[in-house]
């Protein structure tokens, strides 16, 4: 599935096995998008949270 980057207009490829919650990174501008909903032929995304200082494992 293909989407357009809301920031720079580049083409984003959404892998078939991607799931809600996963992050898709724009190959051109590096913006991260989070998948918020997904059906067989539609995918909705929003800009992902930026990496926090307290992020980790």
């Amino acid at each position: 599935m293909k989407k357009e980057c809301k920031d720079c207009g580049a083409e984003l490829t959404i892998p078939q096995d991607s799931m809600v919650g996963e992050i898709i990174t724009c190959p051109d501008c590096g913006t991260d998008f989070e998948i918020v909903s997904k059906t067989e032929d539609t995918v909705e995304m929003k800009e992902a949270e930026s990496v926090g200082e307290d992020w980790g494992q």
């Binding site: 799931m19 949270e49 200082e53 980790g56 494992q57």
Partner: protein, 286 residues
């Protein structure tokens, strides 16, 4: 049928793997975005989204910890518990707990202002390692080689208005091979042990900064120290990181609460996600 809820805020390889594994084993799995949750003081255990047991896999330490407090208040079992999350998410607390419980760990010094940090570094001498007390993947971890680097680090910390940036964590630089060891502990079992080698021109061994992994033999000495570290922080599903000091042997420097295992699963034969599922099923009936 046991219902397992995975709470996340960013879905990584690990959460997908565990989610699929739970279903393959015939149990019910749900994925809940921690960012979407709302609790109040009246929230009750009857909320069916959370199933019989919750696996907390939130990437933000503060978000994960506070969500866990809310879930536990509702009487829900959470792996790992808030107490374990609190200890492991904060390097200062981890170091104190490891030492208190007789787990070999590098000598670490703490300071609580710019002035005391400056004095502390002069006293300790160089080189030394500075780490943020919260955070992962080697971010903000630096080798301070001399006083000019020390001043640069202090300047950069002063520009940051994060309250944790004024707490300084200085660790002795360990004379070790260019690798560390990551052991994945689930309950009382060590399911994987790998060497993490640092990449070229890099002294940190984190996979996130290009380190590569290789299977590490689980010696009886390593096993004993890793389980001791796991028990010291309260146990659960953990990643224990160790260094090999050329004179003192194994030293535990970190215990991870929402352990990443992509690197380890690529080189280990053991089924890490499967072992996590089995543990969660076992804990759901306790």
């Amino acid at each position: 049928m046991v219902r397992i809820c995975i709470i996340y805020d960013k879905l990584r390889f690990e959460e997908k793997k565990i989610y699929n594994d739970i279903q393959q084993k015939g149990f019910e799995a749900t994925l809940v975005d921690g960012k979407s949750l709302i609790f109040d003081t009246e929230s009750s255990k009857s909320d069916s989204r959370f199933g019989d047991i919750i696996l907390q896999r939130v990437i933000s330490y503060n978000r994960g910890l506070h969500l866990t407090y809310c879930l536990e208040q509702m009487g829900l079992p959470v792996v790992n518990s808030s107490s374990v999350s609190e200890i492991c998410g904060n390097k200062l607390i981890t170091s104190l707990i490891l030492k208190k419980n007789g787990v070999p760990t590098p000598k670490t010094t703490f300071a609580f202002s710019t002035e005391s940090a400056r004095e502390c570094m002069k006293k300790l001498g160089y080189p030394l390692v500075v780490k943020p007390i919260i955070g992962s993947w080697g971010r903000g971890v630096y080798q301070i080689k001399d006083q000019s680097m020390a001043e640069m680090m202090l300047d950069s910390r002063q520009e940051n208005d994060n309250s944790f940036s004024r707490i300084y964590y200085f660790q002795e630089l360990i004379d070790r091979p260019s690798r560390d060891i990551r052991c994945i502990v689930i309950g009382d079992q060590i399911v994987a042990s790998v060497f993490r080698y640092s990449s070229e021109n890099e002294w940190r061994t984190n996979v996130a900064v290009g380190g590569r992994t290789e299977m590490a033999p689980l010696t009886s000495e390593l096993k004993e120290i890793v389980l001791k570290a796991s028990n010291a922080v309260g146990g659960g599903i953990l990643g224990v990181d160790l260094m090999e000091d050329k004179e003192r042997g194994y030293l535990v420097h970190e215990v991870n609460n929402t352990v990443e295992f992509r690197g380890a699963s690529a080189v280990c034969k053991s089924d890490i996600a499967g072992a996590m599922t089995d543990y969660l099923v076992k804990m759901s009936s306790k």
